[in-house]
């Protein structure tokens, strides 16, 4: 038992990967068995995470992080396998561990090559968890990149079958091939700067350990490579910031997202929106703010501007869509804009009360968006499986045919819209409250953006559920089934619970905020 508690994070981190290998290697072609096995295996990391969550307050702490583990990994360049969690990373780990089994349950309708699908999904979970758990910059990068691979294949192989894209050369490729390639190359090219900056940091500081870097790097003075340290830091700051901005995504780096989200299989979109986008925001919080406090403050205005544009343009773009899945995809740009706005505000006014509030809001918004985006993508997937279209104009008046589905859709949409009493309201309110005194104009504009959020969400609901009934669905569309409700139920409960009593999560988050940014 001691072994487990001493290596709790390693168990969380590697149990999905081991599970994936088990799924892959157990012989037999029974698809049902594979699906159930994958589901059960994905509950193991969740169980470990809950153990970590419940024991969090009592666990020994060093430098603000708990459950730390450190083993030599690549001593020749001073990189070690160093894990640890604080309130920020633990809440993200919880989100990941929670969404993964739900996404797997949502994937029970996948019928092609179930084994590799499930194995990739579990491998993806390890990649995502690794980013949140790493306390070593090199290790962080390892997991950051490695998560791309399973996601690429999930989109490329199990994405939507129809659709073509014409390239500039006139060649036609499948839409999912186009989207997955764009996702991969966009993100890899984005992380190139990050990679270079990490190498540079490692060379200059002689270590990749985050805790050591947080101490040494910001206070570094002198000159480097014949440039003043400020210039080098500014360049490195942008290298980090762009890599993370692409992942979030911040306008104008978001163009990979609508394609990837739209073409990904339902569960893939759930994880993409639910967790993968959070990696970018997490990068800002974990690395950019502590490593570059001065640069972050200097450029916070730019970041806030981009966030505001993401909020406004994201909402407009979402409103303009006919494809329901694309609409939800653009809503992610819109919602993640609030996260970035909160982060920018905190960077500008670090240490003030407003900054603390904004940060709490941003982190809570990460969690909330994870839940509600996953639910929305799943609901789009549910209706897509029944009608084989995502075109909003093809539907209409479905409410009487599928009342339960309709109810659930409205509930999730309201959470996404920020209805008081549900989770989205709490976090957006905190962000706006925190950012208002810091970036008044941007915050005011963002609130106008919020208005359009309401518009596009209501458009989605109206086009699907209300209006004249499209007769062709009569008798062809079936009600949401029990498995699908089982996927949604935990998400909806969380929306309500976080809306009514967010303190259980905020307490944990606030601990990290106070320690690191207080």
């Amino acid at each position: 038992m001691d072994f487990i508690t001493d290596h709790l994070l390693s168990f969380i981190l590697f149990s999905p990967l081991v599970g994936g290998l088990i799924v892959l290697l157990i012989p037999g072609e029974n698809k049902d068995f594979t699906r159930r096995l994958a589901l059960v295996l994905s509950l193991i990391p969740l169980a470990f995470t809950l153990v970590a969550w419940l024991g969090f307050g009592a666990a020994p702490e060093a430098n603000g992080f708990r459950y730390q583990e450190q083993v030599n990994w690549y001593p020749a360049i001073n990189s070690s396998y160093h894990l640890g969690v604080d309130g920020l990373s633990l809440s993200m780990v919880l989100l990941t561990a929670l969404l993964s089994p739900l996404a797997i349950l949502a994937s029970f309708s996948v019928d092609e090559r179930v084994k590799p699908y499930m194995a990739l999904f579990l491998a993806l979970e390890t990649g995502m968890l690794g980013v949140f758990l790493s306390l070593d910059l090199l290790l962080f990068f390892v997991f950051w990149e490695i998560g791309l691979v399973p996601m690429y294949f999930l989109i490329d192989q199990w994405g939507s079958k129809t659709g073509e894209r014409e390239l500039w050369s006139g060649m036609k490729v499948s839409a999912r091939g186009y989207a997955s390639f764009k996702f991969m190359i966009y993100t890899m090219a984005g992380s190139l700067g990050l990679l270079l900056a990490i190498q540079m940091l490692g060379v200059v500081s002689g270590t990749f350990d985050m805790l050591a870097l947080f101490q040494s790097w910001p206070s570094l003075t002198g000159s480097l490579f014949g440039l003043s340290i400020e210039t080098v830091k500014a360049i490195a700051f942008w290298a980090f910031a762009i890599a993370f901005a692409i992942k979030v995504p911040v306008w104008p780096f978001h163009t990979w997202l609508p394609d990837a989200h739209t073409e990904a299989p339902t569960a893939g979109s759930m994880i993409l929106a639910g967790v993968l986008l959070k990696l970018g925001a997490y990068g800002f919080l974990r690395l950019v703010l502590p490593l570059y406090p001065a640069q972050a403050q200097l450029y916070a205005g730019t970041l806030a501007l981009l966030a505001t544009l993401a909020i406004i343009f994201g909402a407009f773009a979402a409103y303009g869509q006919r494809d329901f899945k694309r609409l939800v995809a653009y809503s992610s740009v819109n919602h993640m804009g609030f996260v970035v706005l909160g982060i920018a505000a905190a960077a500008f006014a670090a240490g003030t009360e407003s900054a603390t509030i904004a940060l709490n809001g941003a982190i809570l918004q990460m969690f909330n968006h994870g839940i509600s985006a996953a639910a929305m993508f799943f609901l789009v997937g549910v209706i897509y499986e029944r009608t084989h279209t995502r075109d909003l104009d093809e539907w209409g008046g479905l409410f009487p045919l599928v009342p339960v589905f309709g109810g659930l859709l409205i509930f999730s949409s309201m959470s996404s819209l920020g209805l008081p009493g549900l989770n989205g309201f709490v976090s957006e309110f905190l962000v706006v409250r925190g950012a208002w005194p810091i970036f008044t104009l941007f915050t005011a504009l963002s609130m106008l953006g919020l208005l359009f959020t309401g518009a596009y969400i209501l458009k989605g609901i109206a086009k699907t559920l209300h209006g004249p009934l499209n007769e062709k669905w009569k008798g062809h569309i079936t009600e949401i089934n029990r498995r699908e409700i089982a996927v949604l139920a935990p998400l909806l409960l969380l929306m309500l619970w976080l809306g009514l009593w967010p303190a259980w999560l905020l307490n944990v988050i606030n601990q990290a905020v106070v320690t690191f940014f207080g």
Binding site: N72, W73, Y74, P75, A76, I77, L138, F141, V142, F143, W144, E145, I146, V149, Y152, D156, Q157, S174, G177, F181, M184, I185, M188, A189, L192, L195, L196, Q199, M200, G202, V203, V204, F225
Partner: protein, 491 residues
């Protein structure tokens, strides 16, 4: 009777086996193939023994053995391995074993084919373990000569004669130039010995080193594929039969890089410090231009060939940083690239054997027929892209760190190649293994044999193993690199 030195066994076993093989009646093909497999397996196992019994904390050179050969001229047979060569010996063992497995489909005069292949292997092992400059040249020529025959006789019919001739002339001219430099060292040292450890202490004058270093370095680096002397390599790789391409790109190119390091940089460190700062620009061309050329290839095998040029450029670039990280990365990259590229050529061979085309646009959807091969290629591809978790990352990361120490701007430019590599590898994976199966291929494709899967697995295990546990290889390379650095004056 005294047990012979394990390195001597490794060096001479293949060539003896190659000779013995010629006595097997040519009709007895099964026996020929089995015999070749057995020899390959023994080489692999012996190289594993060398690798794992090498003590990174022990003496600099281990498993030493020395006999006088031509004492009047100071020539001896002197062998031993250090931390840099131990992985290369293992690499050779891995590639010979997997190459023999892949060659089980050779129908045309298999006896002679394997015989030449084993002579080649002896030459390669010999270069890696030689501590005597003369013996090194001796084995170097043994390694280059069978290459000509292997390509000209068993290669791709359309270009084999051209490619074999081009390759041999390039390498031969390179080695002659290097030999001139080596003889100059021999005479200038006044020690009357070819013993490289002794020559390290010869204290050649700076003028001498600055003059002769480029001869020796480029003479060998031709085989390492350095720009602008690289263009024999894609032609040679493409024309060669599968196992020979594996050997060639996997091991022979390392031979060039290693010899340039051992004879050039380690014996003339001052010359290296003078010249490498500009040579690094050539390696930059290798890395970036090689990747761009690979991206525009439509022939699957040419794409891999140019990717080798790009990746070997990283090795030379690591050398040119003249610092610890650069050498560490270059040492790991030599092994990593060898395994990776051997896998690539094996996969290309498997695809070509069945599809009879290597044009990427004419291939597609092969994952349905050969899922195992597809997975292996993906692992190789990820290694090639420098994806963390695979050996390529473990190698390239320190090289880039080394660049940051010595030439920060070059690090930034060279990083372009990472994105380009990702693009062409992902494109190849997508076009060849996924997507629609072209109608011409339907019905022609089938899965590969178990033994071939085994070969691919062996290669993959090294890439993933090192990627996850760098500790498998890094302590050895570290030991070797420290010696190099002490010769460079602790730079």
């Amino acid at each position: 009777m005294q047990i012979p030195n394990i390195l001597s066994i490794i060096v001479f076993l293949p060539i003896v086996a190659g000779a013995v093989m010629l006595f097997i009646p040519p009709k007895n093909r099964d026996l020929i193939h089995r015999f070749a497999l057995a020899v390959g397996l023994v080489c692999f196992l012996l190289s594993l023994v060398v690798y794992f019994s090498f003590d990174p904390n022990g003496a600099r050179y281990q498993f030493l053995e020395k006999f006088d050969w031509l004492p009047a001229l100071g020539i001896s047979y002197y062998v031993g391995v250090d931390g840099i060569t131990a992985p290369l010996v293992l690499l050779t063992g891995v590639v010979i074993f997997t190459g023999v497995i892949i060659s089980q489909r050779i129908d045309d005069r298999p006896r002679e084919f394997f015989s030449f292949l084993f002579i080649l292997a002896s030459g390669v092992f010999g270069v890696f373990v030689s501590l005597d400059l003369f013996a090194l040249f001796f084995f170097y020529e043994i390694a280059v000569f069978p290459m000509y025959l292997l390509i000209a006789l068993w290669g791709w019919k359309q270009t084999r004669e051209y490619a074999a001739m081009k390759l041999t002339l390039y390498l031969f001219i390179g080695s002659v130039i290097a030999l001139v430099g080596a003889l100059a060292m021999y005479f200038a040292s006044g020690l009357n010995t070819f013993d490289m450890i002794a020559l390290e202490g010869a204290n050649f004058s700076p003028e001498f080193q600055n003059l002769w270093f480029p001869f020796v370095f480029f003479g060998f680096a031709v085989l390492g594929g350095i720009f602008p002397f690289h263009n024999w390599s894609p032609d040679g790789h493409v024309a060669a039969p599968t196992a020979v391409s594996m050997f060639h790109a996997g091991v022979l190119m390392k031979l060039g890089a290693f010899a340039a390091l051992r004879v050039g940089i380690m014996l003339m460190p001052i010359g290296a410090q003078t010249h490498l700062p500009w040579i690094i620009l050539l390696t930059l061309v290798n890395v970036v231009y090689g990747a761009l050329i690979a991206m525009v290839q439509t022939d699957f095998k040419y794409m891999i060939g140019f990717s080798s040029v790009s990746h070997m450029g990283l090795v030379a670039m690591g050398f040119a940083t003249l610092n610890y990280n650069g050498y560490l990365g270059a040492g790991v990259q030599m092994f990593s690239h060898g395994v990776m590229t051997a896998l690539f050529f094996a996969v290309v061979g498997m695809v070509y054997d069945q599809a009879h085309t290597r044009e990427i646009p004419k291939l597609g959807g092969l994952v349905k027929y050969m899922p195992f091969v597809a997975v292996a290629f993906i692992i190789g591809g990820l290694t090639s892209m420098g994806m963390p978790g695979f050996s390529g990352f473990i190698a390239e990361f320190p090289i880039f760190m080394g660049l940051w120490n010595s030439h920060p701007w070059i690090a930034i430019v060279a990083a372009i190649s990472v994105a380009v590599t990702a693009a062409y590898i992902m494109r190849a994976i997508g076009r060849v293994f996924f997507g629609e199966v072209p109608s011409e291929l339907e019905g022609h494709m089938h899965d590969v044999k178990f033994s071939e899967k085994l070969a691919l697995s062996v290669l993959c295990i090294f890439m993933v193993g090192i990627g996850l546990f760098p500790g498998i290889i890094v302590p050895l390379v570290n030991a070797g690199v420290n010696t190099v650095l002490s010769l460079l004056g602790g730079a």
